[in-house]
């Protein structure tokens, strides 16, 4: 028996992903969409050995304008899955059924799963599943993805309809004259399209869907004949064909709703979600609340948790280091011991030290994401973001970017307007990602006594960089024009599921740990070698003084670039350059080098109960304990070119070499200039001499201010806004 393919389709936010995970368990795999190099998710249905479930993008409609929608319908038409499982959000059934009516027209056997039934019941609404099933002509199943009810039942019904191939195909009916035109179109195309999809094609042709017209080459006579009917219809309804169809589809659903859904007025004066919303998006309180939330998130993760966890983790790796040294003592040569203890354990340990803080940070961000607050933030921030040439939607990539810039940059795809999207791609990596947080944590602990303000300031520095870039870039020719439209669904607030929050936290946390064991381990070893060997007096070999090592020579050769920024020592240079491999490398490099320089034990012994003491030597060794140098180093590393993986993502999303190079150069220049201004003006404020650097810094500030505040020279130049698949 051959495999049965089931496609999972539905609106965004309908609980599709939860259901997919539930139905497939761990048996998921990632492949490519046919024809396009984009990954798709498939999984085997639990309890069946021949049923493949294909997760489709969350969409609102099957319009020809957004590429996600085009891909979905191409998949459904060309790949012909055996059945569709359509997930419908029961709490928002009217708009969700709009997609359902379009899916039914495809003529593929379909089952509708009315999801979130637990919430529907709680609000007292009643959905008459039987009537709905009769009206739609397909099985309708109640599910609750959160509680797990009905999911398997829905899957079993879908397998059943796939096997029987049954689709009564009772699509939504339009008004007489529209049906009349569609009937004529059906007549002309029935020989060229698959029989069961005739109606879908006919409606699309009625809508003058370019993608479909391209595919079905109608003869000129047919075309003329059909066009006459459409025009007549349009004249009668005084609207364009596409709008007629949409309008009547919704009218049909409204009628369907009367027969099947009974809204209770239990929450007429506002649901809990409304009440929460009234506070969180309050005119006066919204912004202060947002800033307070971000402060608390960083205060708890980097400050409170960081305080004890740094000490604890240091102690842990101290013990591991001691234990391993004890094992090797006498059996293993000192050089190898150094490699293992100073290199591998010192380096990997320095990165893993930050795991508890990261887990807490990810946990809180996951909570905020899941409960629906972040969509509200996009709503609140849209006005601000738009002034800076971005859209409220840019906030979402940046939010995801606080975990890892790569998916953040990828998430910019949801922004339809090309210019907004490019701007978002360029600025997303300014928001400190998970891997940059250890740098922040290191600097905060090693130089500033674990102050939570450092972490919070890092976040707001990121936001400031986004805003400043937005204003400056918006006024350049490449970004001229007005931002695009902003139409976004605001999902209701809901209590996040424990499993959802834990899953997302675990994913991010685990990825961090795994990278410590792979890429960080490798480079720890490499850095240990490079910093322990060099060309000494007796030629190449182990060097006593690390300053004579190969690494010191390499780093030293680039020192001049960073000297004006206040951290012109080769160690900081190496750390910064290694940051291109992965941002945790910055911490790793300091970990290995400090261990080699002073002996791992010296540093680790200082750890233990005295949380911050353990990292202090790093601050002393590499920044002379100077807060100014350390913070300047932090600024540079937050803004400069991201890691290779993120650069790769930028290249893929920009899909243009010039834009990619431009983005990377812009980030690095901004990083250098910001650090330079901060450090040199900081020196002057501290009472240092007013030298040439300070003058240059002031000139830069003036130029920056000019770029920020000059009138936009391209203000009235409208560019054509492109959508979807340009």
């Amino acid at each position: 028996m051959s495999d049965i393919k089931i496609a999972l389709a539905g609106n965004p936010n309908s609980g599709k992903t939860t259901l997919f995970n539930m139905l497939t368990g761990s048996k998921q795999y990632v492949g490519n969409w046919p024809g396009v190099t984009v990954e798709k998710k498939e999984g085997m249905l639990k309890g069946f050995d021949n049923v493949i479930i294909q997760d489709l993008p969350g969409i609102y409609s099957l319009s020809p304008y957004s590429l996600e929608e085009v891909i979905t319908r191409n998949y459904l038409i060309d790949e012909q899955p055996d059945a569709i499982l359509n997930i419908v959000d029961g709490t928002n059934i009217e708009r969700n059924l709009y997609l359902t009516t379009q899916l039914i027209e495809l003529g593929i056997p379909i089952v509708v799963a009315v999801n979130m039934m637990d919430i529907v019941r709680k609000t007292g609404d009643k959905i008459n599943v039987e009537n709905l099933s009769k009206a739609l002509g397909c099985p309708v199943v109640e599910t609750s993805a959160l509680k797990g009810d009905g999911a398997m039942e829905a899957a079993r019904r879908t397998v059943a309809v796939a096997n029987s191939g049954e689709n009564k195909n009772i699509p939504c009916h339009f008004e007489g004259s529209v049906e009349h035109a569609i009937a004529h179109i059906e007549e002309s195309i029935q020989s060229i399209v698959p029989k069961h999809s005739v109606r879908w094609y006919a409606i699309k042709i009625f809508e003058r869907d370019e993608k479909v017209l391209e595919k079905i080459k109608l003869s000129p006579e047919d075309n003329k004949h059909i066009e006459e009917h459409i025009v007549e219809c349009e004249r009668e309804m005084d609207d364009d064909a596409e709008s007629i169809i949409i309008g009547q589809r919704y009218a049909y659903i409204a009628k369907l709703m009367e027969k099947t859904v009974k809204k209770s007025n239990k929450y007429a004066d506002g649901t809990v979600s409304d009440k929460i919303d009234r506070v969180l998006t309050n005119r006066v309180l919204a912004l202060p609340i947002f800033f307070a939330v971000m402060y608390v998130v960083y205060k708890i993760s980097i400050g409170t948790v960081g305080d004890w966890s740094v000490g604890f983790m240091e102690g842990l790796f101290e013990n591991i280091g001691e234990f391993v040294s004890g094992l090797m003592e006498g059996n293993v040569s000192p050089v190898l011991q150094g490699l293992i203890v100073d290199g591998a354990i010192g380096g990997v340990g320095s990165v893993l030290t930050f795991v508890p803080q990261m887990i807490i940070l990810f946990l809180m961000l996951a909570f905020l994401e899941e409960c629906g607050y972040m969509a509200r933030v996009a709503f609140i921030m849209d006005r601000i973001f738009r002034r800076f040439g971005l859209s409220g939607k840019s906030f979402i990539p940046m939010l995801i970017g606080s975990g890892c810039s790569v998916p953040g940059i990828m998430a910019s795809r949801t922004i339809e307007n090309e210019r907004d999207r490019r701007m978002t791609i360029m600025t997303t990596s300014f928001i400190p990602c998970g891997a940059k947080m250890p740098i922040v944590g290191l600097i905060a602990s090693a130089v500033f006594g674990g102050s939570a303000l450092i972490a919070t300031s890092a976040y707001f520095l990121g936001v400031a960089a986004v805003i400043i870039s937005g204003v400056i870039l918006k006024k350049t020719k490449a970004f001229a024009g007005e931002p695009a439209e902003f139409v976004m669904e605001l999902p209701s607030y809901h209590w996040p599921t424990v499993s959802g929050v834990l899953r997302s936290t675990w994913e991010r946390g685990w990825s961090f740990i795994k990278r410590a064991g792979t890429i960080i381990l490798l480079s720890s070893i490499a850095i240990w070698f490079l910093s322990s060997f060099g060309f000494g007096e007796e030629g190449f070999g182990l060097v006593e003084d690390m300053n004579e090592s190969v690494l010191a020579k390499l780093g030293g050769s680039l020192k001049w670039i960073f000297t004006p920024l206040g951290f012109g020592n080769w160690e900081a240079v190496v750390a910064t350059v290694m940051g291109l491999v992965a941002k945790e490398e910055v911490v790793n490099v300091f970990g290995v080098l400090s261990a080699v320089g002073e002996g791992a034990m010296d540093i680790l012994e200082a750890g233990g109960a005295e949380a911050i003491e353990g990292l202090k030597p790093i601050g002393e060794q590499f920044f002379n304990g100077s807060g100014l140098s350390a913070y300047s180093f932090l600024i540079f590393n937050l803004f400069c070119a991201p890691c290779f993986a993120a650069i790769g993502a930028i290249r893929r999303e920009m899909n243009n070499a010039k834009w990619t190079v431009g983005a990377i150069v812009y980030m690095t220049v901004l990083a250098w200039v910001s650090s330079f201004v901060f450090y040199n003006l900081g020196l002057v404020i501290r009472g240092g001499a007013f030298g040439i650097n300070a003058i240059i810094a002031i000139v830069i500030v003036v130029i920056g201010a000019y770029l920020l505040f000059r009138p936009n020279p391209y203000k009235n130049e409208k560019i054509s806004i492109k959508y979807g698949d340009q």
């Binding site: 009217e94 309008g247 976004m488």
Partner: protein, 77 residues
């Protein structure tokens, strides 16, 4: 009257959408079609965008897009 001029707390009815192509389709796909009742819930803290209730869910639209939607007073309050 256009939708952007409607005050929070009012309910109006959509009469016409003065737009074409992708934007019009997107707005209509989200349920803002001729004859539908729209309740203006609120305006964002900084004056834009606005939050609407349409077909039982919440939708956020910028004022400049709302300006393309013609409405009349009506519907129950």
């Amino acid at each position: 009257m256009t939708l952007d001029k409607v005050k929070p707390g009012e309910t109006v009815k959509v009469v016409k959408i003065n737009n074409t192509g992708a934007i019009k389709r997107r707005i209509m796909d989200m349920g803002l079609t001729k004859g539908v009742e729209v309740y203006v819930r609120k305006v964002a803290p900084l004056g834009d965008p606005m939050e609407l209730t349409v077909r039982g869910y919440e939708l956020s639209v910028r004022k400049e897009d709302a300006a393309m939607i013609e409405v009349i007073q009506g519907g129950k309050n």
